[in-house]
Each structure stands twice: as C-alpha cells, then as structure tokens.
Amino acid sequence: DAMVIQNPRYQVTQFGKPVTLSCSQTLNHNVMYWYQQKSSQAPKLLFHYYDKDFNNEADTPDNFQSRRPNTSFCFLDIRSPGLGDAAMYLCATSREGDQPQHFGDGTRLSIL
C-alpha cells in the first residue's frame, strides 16, 4: 500500500546533540510537510516543500532545518536540540497544497 513512513518511531538524543528524523513516501506527492506536535496540542507546521521549493513558517526556530533530496524522501534536522524540542514530529504529504494530507505515524523525540 502507498504510504508515508517515518523512521525511527522513537528517537532519544542528548541535549545539544544533532538529530535527524526521516520520512519517505510512495504516493509520489508534490508536497511534503513537517509538523511538531506537543502533548495535548494540535500539530504545528514547521515547514514544507512544494517539489524542491522550501517554505519555512515564520516562527520556526533556526535550529530546525529540512532537506528533500528527491521526491520520495524528506529529512528534519535539529541542530542543537533543547528540552523544549521534545515532541512528536509528524510528516505529511499531499498531491497539491490545497488537498488532504496523508500523515505518517510520527517520530516521538525525547531529549535527555
């Protein structure tokens, strides 16, 4: 089945140690998104790619960066994680920007 796959499901890193989360899709969708979701809150959009065009939300910290080397893969890099970055990170895709998004199961990031 076509899907959005996030690896790993659980990630533990140390305070200040860079970490990369990955997302892959078999839907061949143009748009890929990264969201941060903290406990009991709605997902918050960090940034998205429309094809190779990167779109950063105005309030996304500089600590967060993303790469999309090809249509299928997208990475979230956190350069120096702080305790406040502990959250669920969700990847999503859509064929076009105004169409429903398909979500992966997320990566839960813990910071020691």
């Binding site: 996030q6 748009v31 998205h48 076009e96 105004d98 429903p100 979500f103 997320g106």
Partner: protein, 116 residues
C-alpha cells in the same frame, strides 16, 4: 485570516449513543474543511473533507459532517459510537485562494471518550 474553534476540548458518550463534535470556522475565502482523527501515538487520518460540493459529507467509519455556511459550522456526527472511536479529533480549514500548505489552520482538538 482564518480560524477554527472546536467548542469542546473533551466529549464523553456511552457506546452505542450518538456522537457530536462541534467546529466553527472563519475564513475570508470559500474554505475547504476537513476532519482528522488521531489515535494515541499515531499520525492523523483523514475522516472526511468538504470542498464546496454537497454540504453533507460522508466519511469513513460511519462519520459524517454538515457544512452550514450561515452558521459557519462544520460539526462531526456519528449515529452510534464504538469503543474504537475513542481518539483525538481535529477540525482543519484550508481557505487560501488557489490553495497552499500555509493556508491550513488546525483546531485545538476534541478528545472523544467512549464509556462502555
């Protein structure tokens, strides 16, 4: 500007009774509206979408929602709750002309509890 208000942070119903999750929106454009469900430690799953076709939208798992422009509402209903419906539900609006990912606005979510 657009916004979404989910009127209840928690809703508790008994198994087999109707479910009503309320959502009001505001948008400067003709909106697209969605309901997503999130089970614990899972991503969001699309339940249904409204995109200016029929005002009564049927979704998966027996859920449906009615778009009422005069009331700016998009409430989610199900005739008979099942234990597996226990989850977090998000109302989402996309309203920018021509679409665009940054046009998505999430409600704060409603936690649905099903009593046996």
């Amino acid at each position: 500007a657009q916004s979404v208000t989910q009127l209840d942070s928690h809703v508790s119903v008994s198994e087999g009774t109707p479910v009503l999750l309320r959502c009001n929106y505001s948008s400067s454009y003709s909106p697209s509206l969605f309901w997503y469900v999130q089970h614990p430690n899972k991503g969001l799953q699309l339940l249904l979408k409204y995109t200016s076709a029929a005002t009564l939208v049927k979704g998966i798992n027996g859920f449906e929602a009615e778009f009422k422009k005069s009331e700016t509402s998009f409430h989610l209903t199900k005739p008979s709750a099942h234990m597996s419906d226990a989850a977090e539900y998000f109302c989402v609006v996309s309203g920018l002309s021509g679409g665009g990912a940054d046009g998505l606005t999430f409600g704060k979510g409603t936690h649905l509890i099903i009593q046996p």
